[in-house]
Symmetry: C2
Subunit: 450 residues, 2 copies
């Protein structure tokens, strides 16, 4: 492992910074043979990986990298204000406006503050929100709370439980809607998790992220956040959704069903897509246009049931030519309770895996099949390969997304006693994760420029 | 494992069939209390999984399932003609037409014959081709050869070597182009494999599949095959490509670069998509329209170099919340030489995997990073997570598809002695697998119907 501390610096640079008592976010003055500059110390990991540079943000807003050697002088000139975790702040309260809770878990949507105070401190305090989107107070009475501060690649199933409980607490406090700010990497997984763990929702819950941090001119943070607040404050829906840009311009914000959405581009603002289904809403603040009927309507009388537990010992395996049966054997021997296969085409695997899959089922694992095609559905009755897997007891999961299938199986295995019941429930749709109608109309795949 | 023989039948049904000496493809007469029907015996796995039914194809073309009990009479009335493997047949030879070799490996494109002779016998003899597309003889002098008969989920890296050698043999025989008929499940992997293993190609090679078998009215087999033959017979290109429907109608056939193509729908005819790049050609037989310039032009003087070997001990692992480090440890302990991570977003993994990834690199595995987003490219300099993985020695693979990265690493590890050289070559583009220009224009993601 690397010797990084939380600032991302190490070696001689870290030593200089420690001597100067300078932490990320502090103003520092750096004097070398040829330069004398002052600016905010940035975390190194955010910018690049040259181990002998300090990166500071100048007053102009630009970042500068400065090579440090043992003769460089580094002084801390102004201590950054540190924010505490778990602050709850209500911005204001106006009559006639809906009340919306915003729970922050971290990620790029919170990265304005990352730039100022470093990767360790959370963001999205009431003040940050106000700075980013001054008109938010005109749209809703906001309750803002920081519940964790993580890039979403480090959100684990146990965190889904924490987020579930935090959302439930807000719902029980009587708000009109809840927004969860979250990194985009695993936003789809968390959306699926909340879709299952928050049963019998009375109000809408929207997860929102951003692909560009809010201090960049091209940021999508403000519009995504505004759209999410408008949606959960006003729309007649009670589902878990993901609210993100639908195009690269700042026009169409889309709300996707939480069990149906996937990050399909690593960097574009319109990275999130509804798969095998239509988005639920287009939001052009303050307009909200319904694109597809919701499964559940807002009903404040409906009694929330919270089922926050997830079984972590469930594996997702994407198959490929040459995949070794030892992977599956390892999954069995390490105590996994379930396995979601991301097979090829209509739901096939190389026959080299058959005996290991049979062993997994004999050992009591629940094994489900999805397709690595992403679009379309599995149909294991068409070819011999599929039929043989069905006969072993592999469960065909229709058009469930592989990621959603994984989360659903983690959830069912933590909440149902009998594995027969789990198997049965995997084939039934609870919150829109399976659609029985033909998928043909809903495939609007990548159109190339011809 | 199930007790299936190659016909897919078992139990009392199989016994009846054996007593009647009836094999799939034979005409049989079945007499029950209420029926007396004659038709072609179909393999069960193709249709459904009810163990007490025989399925026969009637003269009308429809399939019928008949429940069998011990009183049912089954007689074989006509033996199907069995074709031998490895037949090479030249259909005809006309002056002025290009000569094209068609090598069949199996899959749905060969399933007309599956219906007649069962899952074990191969297809695409010269006669079958002629039956399917009578006008083929007007477009090219065809050399047809069956090299294996597999559903593509059972094509392994060792089969890529066989297909490579078979294609090389045709090229050296002086044909103008080669078409490889292949199942669609792993067509993209095989296309990537041939892109690397056939170095310095003098002529084009097109892989072609079909999503619907050729005896269905909606079949795409004939048009895909015609398009592929036209392309490799005539176009001024010398690359490995995949030729499939670009839309659900029978208008646009597209040729995709072999390292850039992915099956994105489980059942639609337009399932294959170029990712992060444009298709190379649109084929509207006999018209061929260039959409993007080829990397290599046809040149009969160019000397083919065949590098058919692939290292099977390379793993592909898609990350997800809760993934266990023991997966990576198992990959190390089972003697793998390489690992392609399909990480989240710009190329991240949960930090729970870091120490196992470090171990893999310390043990000498080559570890590369791709993105499970599918579209876009990895950029591991933006966030701490990415920087830490880079510092461990994880290789960022730009916009290489995960599937192509896996095949490339299998190929490099079998053909290069030094792992430093392998690491360097993984970051360089050989046959269009990495494109350095911005990917933004090339993302034309799923557009929802709004």
């Amino acid at each position: 492992m690397s010797g990084l501390d939380s600032s991302g610096y190490d070696g001689v640079v870290l030593k200089k910074l420690q001597q100067a008592d300078a932490r990320v976010g502090d103003a520092i003055r750096v004097v070398t043979d040829s330069r004398d500059v002052t600016g905010i110390l940035m975390p190194r990991a955010q910018i690049g990986s040259d181990p002998e540079h300090i990166v500071i943000k100048l007053d102009s807003g630009y970042n500068m990298g400065i090579r440090i050697d043992k003769n460089t002088s580094v002084r801390q000139t102004k201590r950054a204000k540190r924010r505490r975790h778990h602050d709850t702040i209500e911005v204001q309260h106006k009559k006639g406006l809906p009340t919306v809770s915003i729970l922050s878990t971290g990620g790029t949507i919170a990265s304005k503050v990352d730039y100022q105070t470093g990767a360790v401190n959370p963001a999205l305090s009431a003040q940050d929100l106000h700075d980013a989107v001054p008109e938010l107070g005109e749209r809703a009475n906001i309750r803002a709370k920081i519940i964790m501060s993580r890039l979403s690649e480090n959100i684990y199933p146990s965190d889904w439980s924490k987020i579930t409980r935090a959302v439930a607490k807000e719902i029980r406090a009587g708000v009109d809607g809840v927004v969860v700010a979250h990194g985009t990497d695993t936003l789809g997984f968390t959306a699926a998790a909340l879709s299952f763990s928050l049963q019998n929702l009375p109000i809408p819950v929207a997860l929102v992220g951003s692909q560009r941090s809010s201090d960049r001119p091209s940021s999508d943070a403000a519009l995504n956040l505004t759209g999410a607040i408008d949606l959960v404050g006003n729309a007649d829906v009670a589902e878990v959704m993901v609210v993100m840009h639908g195009q690269t311009d700042d026009k169409a914000i889309l709300a996707h069903r939480g069990t149906r959405v996937r990050k399909c581009h690593s960097s574009r603002r319109d990275a999130f897509r509804s798969i095998n289904s239509s988005p639920l809403y287009q939001i052009d603040p303050p307009q909200i246009i319904e694109l597809s009927p919701p499964l559940f309507h807002r009903d404040n009388e409906r009694k929330l049931r919270v089922k926050p537990r997830f079984e972590e010992k469930v594996a997702l395996v994407k198959t490929y030519p040459g995949i070794q049966a030892s992977f599956i054997e390892n999954i069995i021997s390490t105590g996994h309770k379930g396995l979601i296969l991301e097979g090829s085409g209509l739901g096939h695997t190389p026959n080299a895996l058959y005996s290991a899959i049979q062993n997994a089922i004999d050992e009591g694992l629940v094994v489900g099949m999805t397709s690595q095609c992403i679009w379309g559905r599995v149909n294991m009755n068409v070819y011999r390969s599929g039929v043989e897997l069905l006969e072993m007891g592999v469960i065909p999961l229709q058009d469930t997304l592989a990621e959603t299938a994984l989360v659903k199986l983690m959830w069912l295995l933590a909440n149902e006693r009998s594995s027969e019941k789990v198997k049965e429930l995997m084939t039934l749709s609870h919150v829109g994760e399976i659609e029985m109608r033909t998928e043909m109309e809903e495939y609007q795949p990548p159109q190339e420029v011809i």
